[in-house]
């Protein structure tokens, strides 16, 4: 692995996120507490304004919930942050660096990775293949290295390492018994787990989860939440869109409420539960 790291330094200016904050040279933008800062984000589709000036922060090392009624603009916000959509206005800062309008792959490079509302596993690839796709800076992703006889040796070595690493993550998520199965034959909940496991293979610092519990049975949900807490202890930051209020209120330190494309409130779970506006707009007056 030492080879890859030294190479990556040469080719990729953004090495790792914790260094980037220091090395960025833009101290006014660096925010020690917040990993992700969204300011005045706007996105419209034709006549529909999906996100209308949303601003919020995600605290480093936290599990933050993003809630709101259907159509509040949560998924569009996610898509704008992760480069799937290009925002019409506003600014997204990740670890002190402006990432507004960057491509999804450039954003993943900086350590911000996401999962999708409907799991996007690669169905005709095995679970292990799915896992091995994700790691960054694979030597064998270069065409000539994959083909040329001598250069390929190092590709194979790295593949052995990646395989072992993939196995370890699969074990952590208790998916190792499915390693050889095609991802398309997994159950809905298992796909969600696989997507999270796969996302972690990219060495992110922050993970955006779009409805990770949707369609997941209670026992698997418990496991997923345990995993998220364990990962939080390892230093990961999570931002998750979720409709399950129990999950949000019991597991998120901070909650952001969106309504009609704007941020209605943000604060601790208790604060949110006591917020009159939120109760009216979303929680229907009773909790």
């Amino acid at each position: 692995m030492s080879d890859t790291d030294s190479e990556a330094e040469g080719s990729d200016p953004i090495e790792s996120n914790d260094d980037a904050t220091v090395a960025n040279g833009r101290p006014e933008a660096v925010d020690a507490d917040n990993t992700l800062v969204v300011e005045n984000l706007r996105k419209r589709f034709g006549g529909i304004v999906a996100v209308d000036g949303a601003s919020f922060e995600v605290e480093r090392g936290s599990i933050t919930g993003l809630i709101g009624p259907n159509g509040a603009g949560k998924s569009t916000t996610f898509n704008c942050i992760t480069g799937v959509h290009r925002p019409d206005g506003g600014r997204i800062t990740f670890d002190g660096e402006d990432i507004t309008g960057l491509s999804p792959e450039a954003i993943v490079d900086r350590g911000l990775v996401r999962t999708f509302q409907i799991a996007r596993e690669l169905p005709e690839m095995t679970v292990l293949e799915n896992m091995m796709l994700a790691p960054k800076r694979q030597l064998g992703e270069s065409l000539w290295r994959s083909v040329m006889p001598v250069a390929r040796r190092r590709v194979v070595e790295q593949e052995d390492e990646l395989r072992e690493r993939a196995w370890e993550t699969l074990e952590f998520f208790e998916l190792d018994h499915l390693a050889g199965e095609y991802a398309g034959s997994l159950s809905g909940g298992q796909r969600k787990l696989l997507e999270l496991a796969r996302a972690l293979q990219t060495d992110p610092s922050t993970v955006l989860l779009d409805e990770p519990m949707a369609g997941v049975n209670p026992s698997l949900e418990r496991r997923l939440l345990e995993h998220i807490h364990e990962l939080q202890e390892d230093g990961y930051t999570f931002l998750l869109v979720e409709h399950d209020m129990d999950v949000i209120m019991n597991h998120c330190e901070r909650v952001i409420v969106m309504h009609q494309g704007q941020v209605l409130a943000q604060g601790s779970a208790d604060e949110i539960q006591a917020d009159e506006q939120v109760l009216e707009a979303y929680l229907g007056g009773t909790v």
Partner: protein, 457 residues
């Protein structure tokens, strides 16, 4: 009846328990099995036609030649469509770019139209580069399009290329003080690619071997011209093997994994940080260069080419071959190429000749007459009708083959079997001693465990 057929097909395609064989051995057996089966078929055809031994050998040579050419094209298309999901229906156009670039580079300086008179290798490399560059030009704007629109762009481009070659403007034009051109509809003459055989036979060691080969062939009654074209066919087969090896390396690599991910779900791949556009452009250019090469080896063999050879239908033949073999499988691509070339392409004319030779049949004016006669237990008019319309029946045969395939094996002969894209064995975990898979070396296991420890942090 169908059960027995299916069993036999399973035996052919390796669905039966062949665990004791490695997968590549099964593939090799299958490829050679299909080739051998078509040889047997055409030997029977030859005997029915009363061909001499030399004639039969020449027939088999011809079948092998087309099988190799279609295998090359199918392999290249498999890289685009089977692996990456790039729906390229402009294969004929990229072949044309390759062949015409090679033709203009190698055509004699005093020819009509004149060329640059460069040596053949420069022509071949130039042709491949030109095809790759045209691929790049097509890919840059078109890769942003969805699959079906991408297909339309490639089909349109292939027709633009063909019509440009025919056009009067490019027929002959002045370039660097020379009257070069495509020759329009009347074609262009150039250095034939099979001229490498005489060149190779002039080399010291190969020449001596060649002399022996010619002498040996002569004693068993094979003419020198058949040996000569047989050698060129052999060169094509070597190209198929080389291309297969290169493509297999791509398939079993992280690059191949990215290609598969693009085919499955491009946004998911991008959301994992994969630079899918770069990979798509690379693979599209490579595939186009290979299509150019296949075109050069095929159409370049005669030393003369016209735009007629690059009709859009050619692209669909290659697709049929790929569908037969199974998209996504390189070994399947070769099998598909052989089956298409032998049974669907070369087979029907032989059947026609056999009918003509053995049966005194007249082609009835309409198929209705043939059916009426068939109703009164006289099959001859029907046979006559088939004989007289073999060109059209050939297309029906392609359709029937596709329908049978759809019912029987919707993924093609080898497409049901998904290749695992990794440069290492993913079937079991080498550190796990419990399985006893045999692949786990204690040495490799230790290294991996160390790595795992470092990463745990």
């Amino acid at each position: 009846m169908t059960d027995r057929l299916r069993e036999r097909a399973d035996a052919l395609t390796g669905r039966v328990d062949l665990d004791e064989f490695e997968r590549w051995q099964v593939d090799l057996l299958l490829v050679f099995g299909v080739l051998l089966a078509s040889y047997v078929l055409f030997t029977i055809f030859g005997l029915l036609l009363g061909l001499s031994f030399n004639g039969i050998v020449s027939t088999l040579r011809r079948v092998t030649y087309f099988a190799a050419v279609y295998a090359l094209l199918t392999l290249a298309l498999n890289l685009h469509w089977g692996y990456t999901g790039l729906f390229n229906i402009g294969v004929a156009g990229f072949m044309a770019v390759g062949v015409y670039t090679m033709a203009i580079l190698t055509a004699p300086v005093d020819g009509s139209p004149a060329g640059f008179g460069l040596p053949l290798p420069i022509g071949i490399i130039g042709g491949m580069l030109a095809a790759a560059l045209v691929g790049l030009v097509a890919a840059l704007p078109a890769l942003r399009l969805r699959a079906d629109y991408f297909a339309i762009v490639t089909l349109g481009l292939s027709e633009i290329i063909r019509l440009s070659i025919i056009s009067g403007t490019l027929r002959q034009f002045e370039f660097a003080g020379r009257e070069i051109g495509t020759g329009g509809g009347s074609g262009i003459s150039f250095t034939a690619t099979n001229s490498i055989i005489p060149w190779l036979l002039d080399l010291p060691v190969l020449g001596a071997l060649g002399d022996r080969l010619f002498a040996a062939a002569g004693t068993i009654g094979i003419e020198a011209s058949v040996v000569q074209s047989g050698l060129y066919t052999f060169v094509l087969l070597l190209c198929v093997v080389a291309l297969y090896l290169v493509l297999a390396r791509i398939a079993y690599s992280p690059f191949g994994r990215v290609l598969k991910a693009i085919r499955e779900d491009e946004l998911a791949a991008r959301s994992l940080g994969k630079r899918t556009n770069v990979a798509k452009i690379k693979v599209f250019m490579l595939g186009c260069a290979l299509m150019g090469l296949a075109g050069i080896l095929w159409q370049g063999g005669r030393g003369f080419v016209t735009p007629e050879s690059f009709m859009p239908i050619l692209t669909f033949y290659v697709f049929v071959a790929l569908i037969i073999g199974g998209a996504g499988s390189n070994a399947g691509s070769i099998v598909g190429g052989i089956v298409f070339a032998a049974i669907l392409w070369e087979g029907p004319p032989f059947v026609q000749r056999i009918i003509r030779l053995h049966l005194d049949v007249r082609t009835p004016p309409t198929i209705y007459d043939a059916f009426v006669a068939l109703g009164s237990a006289d099959p001859l008019p029907m046979i006559g009708y088939v004989e007289g319309n073999m060109e059209q029946i050939r297309f029906m045969l392609v359709g029937v083959a596709l329908i049978v395939l759809m019912l029987w094996r919707p993924d093609g002969v080898l497409g049901h079997r998904k290749e695992i894209a990794a440069a290492t064995d993913l079937s079991n975990r080498p550190t796990a001693a419990t399985d006893g898979g045999g692949t786990g070396e204690s040495n490799g296991g230790e290294i991996e465990e160390q790595d795992g420890g470092e990463r745990d942090e």
